[in-house]
C-alpha cells in the first residue's frame, strides 16, 4: 500500500463522504430511532404521532445514504468494492429492512394487515440500525484485504464485537429518536419519550465505555501506538462526555431541544473520534485514503458535476424541508 499523501481532490471527496455519513447517521438516525421506539409502545395514538413527527423527513434523510454509496462508488471504488463484498449480507438486510419500513409508512394507513405493517416498521427500523452498527464494528476491527479485494467470508461480521456495535447503534438511534420526539411533540408523547432518555443514555454510555476500550486495545495491537501521535484528537471524546452531561441536564431541566441537540453533538464527537483514530486509513489498517482514491481525471470530473451542483441542491432541499416543517407537530 502506498503511503503517499492524498491529493487535494481526494481530500475534498473524503470530506464529502465524511459529511454525508454524518448527515445520514444524524438524520436517518433519529427517524430509525423513532421507528425503534414505535415498537416499544402499543398505544395507537402515540404511534400515529410518532409517524407524523418523521413522515415529512424520513425519505429525504435516506438520500444521504445514497450520497455515501454513490460517492464511494465513484471516488473510492476500492473501498466500495471491499465494503460491499465484506458486508454483502448486512447490506442485504439493510435494504430489506429499509424497503419494508419505507412501504409501511404508506401501507399501515390502509385498512389491510395494519398489524403486519406496524411490525414491519418497528422491526425494519431495528434491523437497519443493527446492521449499520455491526458493519461499523467490523470495520473498526479491521477487514482482511488482498490486492484491493475483500479476502474474508460473507459471515465474518457475525462476531461479538460487531454485534456489540450493532446493539450500541440501536440504543444510540433510539436515544436520538427519543430526543427528536421531545423536540417535536407535546405531552403525552413528549413525557413518554423524555422518561425513556435517562435509561437509553445510560445504556449508550455503558456501550461507549466498552467500545472505546476495545478499539484502543485493537489500535495498539495493529499500529503499535496508543493514539499518542495525535493527542489533540482527545478533544472529541471530551466533547462527547460534555454532550452526555448535557443530555441528562436537558431531561432534568425539561428543556425540549437539549436532549436531541446534545445527542447530535455526541454522534458528531464519536464520528470525529473514530476519524482521527483511523486517519489516514479509509478501511482501518489496510486501505489508505490515497490508495483508495479513483484516478485524478475521475475525481475532477465528479467535482464539476456532483460536487458543485448535486451536493448543494441536496443540502438546499434538506434545509428547506426542515424549515417548512419546523416546530412542534400539529395534532390533527
Amino acid at each position: 500500500m502506498s503511503a503517499t499523501d492524498p491529493s487535494a481532490l481526494a481530500l475534498f471527496w473524503v470530506a464529502v463522504i465524511g459529511v454525508a455519513i454524518l448527515a445520514y447517521v444524524v438524520l436517518d438516525g433519529f427517524d430509525l430511532g423513532v421507528g425503534i421506539l414505535f415498537g416499544a409502545t402499543k398505544d395507537a395514538a402515540l404511534r400515529d404521532e410518532m409517524i407524523a413527527s418523521i413522515s415529512p423527513f424520513w425519505d429525504g434523510n435516506e438520500t444521504w445514504l445514497i450520497v455515501v454509496g454513490a460517492t464511494l462508488f465513484a471516488a473510492f471504488p476500492t473501498v466500495y468494492a471491499v465494503f460491499l463484498g465484506a458486508f454483502y449480507i448486512p447490506v442485504l438486510l439493510l435494504l430489506l429492512a429499509l424497503i419494508f419500513r419505507g412501504v409501511a409508512f404508506e401501507f399501515r394507513a390502509r385498512d389491510a394487515a395494519q398489524r403486519f405493517w406496524d411490525r414491519s416498521f418497528a422491526v425494519g427500523s431495528l434491523v437497519a440500525a443493527f446492521v449499520q452498527g455491526a458493519a461499523v464494528g467490523a470495520m473498526i476491527r479491521g477487514i482482511p484485504v488482498v490486492n484491493g479485494q475483500f479476502s474474508g467470508g460473507s459471515s465474518d461480521w457475525v462476531a461479538a464485537f460487531p454485534i456489540l456495535h450493532g446493539i450500541g447503534l440501536v440504543l444510540g438511534y433510539a436515544l436520538l429518536g427519543a430526543g427528536w420526539l421531545v423536540l417535536k411533540s407535546e405531552d403525552p408523547l413528549r413525557s413518554w419519550a423524555r422518561s425513556r432518555i435517562p435509561m437509553l443514555a445510560t445504556a449508550v454510555v455503558a456501550f461507549l465505555c466498552v467500545a472505546v476500550v476495545t478499539a484502543f486495545i485493537d489500535r495498539a495491537r495493529m499500529t503499535g501506538s496508543l493514539f499518542l501521535d495525535r493527542p489533540w484528537g482527545f478533544v472529541f471524546p471530551l466533547i462527547g462526555i460534555l454532550a452526555i452531561v448535557g443530555i441528562f441536564a436537558g431531561v432534568r431541566q425539561r428543556r425540549d431541544s437539549w436532549p436531541f441537540a446534545m445527542t447530535v453533538v455526541l454522534f458528531v464527537a464519536a464520528f470525529l473520534s473514530l476519524a482521527v483514530m483511523f486517519w489516514p486509513y479509509m478501511i482501518p489498517y489496510s486501505v489508505t485514503v490515497a490508495a483508495a482514491a479513483a484516478p485524478q481525471a475521475s475525481l475532477s470530473f465528479l467535482f464539476w458535476g456532483a460536487g458543485l451542483f448535486v451536493l448543494p441542491v441536496i443540502s438546499a432541499y434538506t434545509a428547506v424541508v426542515y424549515w417548512v416543517f419546523r416546530g412542534k407537530i400539529r395534532k390533527s
Binding site: 400515529d48 409517524i51 407524523a52 413522515s55 415529512p56 468494492a81 460491499l84 463484498g85 465484506a86 454483502y88 449480507i89 442485504l92 430489506l96 424497503i99 419494508f100 412501504v103 409508512f105 404508506e106 401501507f107 399501515r108 394507513a109 390502509r110 385498512d111 389491510a112 394487515a113 479485494q149 475483500f150 479476502s151 474474508g152 467470508g153 460473507s154 416543517f325 407537530i329 390533527s332
Partner: protein
C-alpha cells in the same frame, strides 16, 4: 447480429420478446388514451361501458412495460457489464459465493412478491371503488405526506 462472434452475443430470445412486449404495451396505452380522447370529444366517454372496462383492466400496462424494458436492456447488454471493456464474468466479486447470491436473490423475490401483492391489491381496490371518495378517507392518509397535503388543500380552506 451474425457479424458478432458467438461469445459476444446475448441470449437473443429474451430481449426479442421483452422488447416486443414493451412496445406492445406502449401501443395499447396509446390506443387507450387516443380512443379515450376521441370518446371524450364525442361526449360518449362516460357511457361507453366496454371502454371503461378496457381502461380499468389496462392499469398494469405501465408496470409490465417498465419490467419488459428493463429485461431488454439488462439481458441485451450481456455478456458485457461495461460494453466492450468489462465482461460480466470478470466483474463478479471474488469473495462472493453461490450460496450468498442465492440467499439474496430469494430474499429480494420474497420481499418484492409481498410488497407488490399488497400494492396491486391497494391499486385494484382504489380503481374498483372509483372516483368521488369522500373526505372521510383522509383519515386513512399518512399525515404530512404529498398525497395528504394535496387532498387537504383541495378540500379545505387554505391554511
Amino acid at each position: 447480429l451474425e457479424t458478432f462472434p458467438v461469445e459476444d452475443r446475448p441470449p437473443v430470445i429474451i430481449p426479442f420478446f421483452a422488447f416486443r412486449i414493451m412496445v406492445g404495451m406502449g401501443l395499447i396505452m396509446l390506443a387507450v388514451s387516443w380512443f379515450g380522447s376521441f370518446l371524450r370529444w364525442s361526449g360518449r366517454l362516460e357511457s361507453t361501458r366496454w371502454f371503461l372496462w378496457v381502461a380499468f383492466l389496462s392499469f398494469p400496462s405501465g408496470f409490465i412495460a417498465v419490467l419488459a424494458g428493463w429485461f431488454t436492456a439488462e439481458v441485451g447488454r450481456q455478456p458485457w457489464v461495461v460494453y466492450g471493456l468489462l465482461r460480466t464474468k470478470d466483474a463478479v466479486t471474488p469473495s462472493l459465493t453461490t450460496g450468498d447470491v442465492l440467499i439474496s436473490l430469494a430474499c429480494y423475490v420474497i420481499a418484492y412478491a409481498t410488497i407488490y401483492s399488497f400494492g396491486l391489491f391497494f391499486i385494484y381496490r382504489l380503481l374498483r371503488d372509483g372516483p368521488g371518495r369522500d373526505a372521510s378517507d383522509r383519515a386513512k392518509m399518512t399525515p404530512a405526506r404529498p398525497l395528504a397535503v394535496a387532498m387537504q388543500s383541495s378540500t379545505d380552506e387554505p391554511r
